[in-house]
Subunit: 363 residues, 2 copies
């Protein structure tokens, strides 16, 4: 089933991506501007299912890599990702058949639309995470044995770096170091894969889910309702808390934004307090007894408590009210392979993974 | 004129390279071992002048990049530079005609011999620095408009990175970041150039000069003489001091070893004291009044005060006696273009460049 996505749909894409981006994946406003301009100039983008592609098609994910705080201040020039794609074409000896979204996020689910519009290529209805994650090996492509290389990284100045590595973790390390040197953010084409590999490894339907989430946010806001409840119904999510940011510790190191927000409960949660850790994306939410409420790889998605718009980790500030929702990750993330890639242990936590629905039922 | 270099010559190459390497360019012992094994297995290496090559020949410099202290502990696997060369061949669409030495140094003037032996390619009699410098854009190739890219960096684990950049300083920045991530040292093939470019940009004769310096050290030591005087006669050098290391401050940061050695004069220099700054290589020598005795890009070459063997910055230690010689750099380094690349200002010093022969005559 193919769907036409027009410039008008991009507000919803940016909103939905930002919600599913669990605080990361880039600023929805910048992403929307970039992609809207491209679709207005070049026309709509065709969203297709991986099953519609020939087995030997060449599918190429495109995305931005770096610390979200940097992305807000250092806008892409627009040509970087085309330069990266051109190098992938040279290395692979042929042109991409379709583009792929690597992760959900305000920026990283809109960039593929911009590139699809400019190149005239279709975009697959799926992604590699079903959310955003801070490191590039954390994706279903890795779980299905797709190599991240050849990977090409391009900056706004005209520099590019490409890598061939022994595994996707090494690709992450080398590409991250180059990203830091390029100023903290760079655009990437990577994980070139066949149509058969895309069919096997993609988390299918992410792009239409993003669109549906975005439209739900728009509709609920138009109806003067906070969209939290409707989004939980749509995604199988659980309300974690309504709270106000009391303290925020954040540092940009090694190409990531890492930190912890301390939250004081409001409304029905008044009197309680919470912490939420993040590395670009939200990783772990806890209450004041230290009990884990939701942990990576399950999703922690934030909406502004009043306006109902998605909140990214870089926009967290003292006094902001939040409504946090815990959402079960795609079942692949809850397998041993998924937890090895992006479970609590990988991020240095002692706690074992437990599903959000189990954590919230044991109170 | 072509010369055959045999395994037996490599002791002299390693010694001569280490002397001209101004404290950097890698450990002569490791370099000698690597290259000797290759020449014993594959036979001698042919040293040729760039003038003997066709104008459209493809000449490729090969070298190790990283902090010398790391190179001592992290030996190359031997296959890295061949992997890098293979990628250069793929990018350039043809095989190298000849190899090039990028810089003088214990390791970096022996590695090209090892690679030449294994590949059967001739090695050009010249290099890009006439000494060692810490950063890869600091070479005569840059002064003659040769691009460092395509540059391929390979590590001992099987990872490789390649770059296309807007200038050689950006290549240095990106390659340095990847080198740090690869563990602090990596092998490189870069600056692919035509025979005509090699003829125009090479500092000719460096390899035979290195051999001559190494043989002089061997002969003087056999005759129970300290080789300092004979080396100064050979290189037009000036004795700076004989001294003992009293203090050494050294840190490995950003892929470099940076530091300062404080020296107390001995013998004819008893009662004086000195400091020598380094970033991989020796940069500036001063006496206790702060007067500059020799400054980059002129060479500061160190011999053990007793044994007469070259001393690298990573082997500096408390109590070691040194004899330091200041040598005029190649005239190209003393031009505005040369000083912009590697003069005192580039390294953050306030003093203007003055030739060692002028500095020592104004006392």
């Amino acid at each position: 089933m193919s769907t036409q996505i027009t410039a008008e749909d991009l507000d919803a894409v940016a909103l939905g991506g930002a919600f599913l981006g669990t605080g990361g994946g880039g600023d929805p406003y910048i992403g929307k501007l970039m992609a809207k301009a491209a679709l207005l100039e070049h026309g709509p983008v065709t969203l297709i299912d991986a099953a519609e592609l020939p087995e030997d098609a060449l599918c190429v994910p495109v995305f931005m890599m770096g610390a979200p705080t940097v992305m807000v201040e250092k806008l892409p020039a627009g040509t970087e990702v085309l330069a990266a794609l051109a190098q992938i074409k040279q290395i692979m000896g042929r042109k991409a058949t379709a583009l792929v979204c690597a992760e959900a996020g305000g920026l990283n689910s809109t960039i593929p639309f911009a590139v699809a519009a400019v190149t005239g290529l279709p975009l697959l209805n799926g992604d590699g995470m079903g959310r955003a994650f801070p490191e590039l090996q954390m994706c279903s492509f890795t779980m299905h044995g797709v190599k991240a290389t050849p990977l090409v990284l391009a900056d706004d100045k005209g520099n590019a770096a490409s890598f061939t590595t022994i595994d996707n973790l090494w690709t992450e390390r080398l590409a991250r170091a180059a990203t830091v040197e390029m100023g903290g953010a760079a655009l990437v084409a990577a994980y070139p894969m066949t149509g058969a590999q895309a069919q096997a490894s993609l988390l299918h339907g992410t792009m239409t889910l993003i669109l549906e989430i975005g439209r739900t946010i728009q509709e609920e806001r138009r109806a003067m309702r906070h969209p939290g409840e409707a989004l939980r119904a749509l995604t199988g999510g659980h309300k974690l808390m309504r709270a106000r940011v009391a303290d925020i510790r954040r540092e940009t190191t090694g190409g990531f934004v890492r930190g912890t927000a301390t939250l004081r409960g409001i409304d029905e949660d008044a009197g309680r307090s919470f912490t939420v850790d993040f590395q670009n994306e939200f990783l772990v939410a806890r209450d004041d007894t230290g009990r884990v409420l939701t942990t990576t790889p399950d999703l922690i998605c934030a909406l502004d408590g009043d306006a109902g718009l998605p909140v990214t980790t870089e926009s967290l500030r003292y006094g902001l009210t939040l409504e946090l929702t815990g959402i079960p990750a795609d079942p692949q993330w809850r397998t041993e392979a998924g937890l090895t890639l992006a479970g609590p242990g990988y991020f240095g936590y002692d706690h074992a993974f437990a599903p959000v629905e189990a954590l919230l039922s044991t109170s």
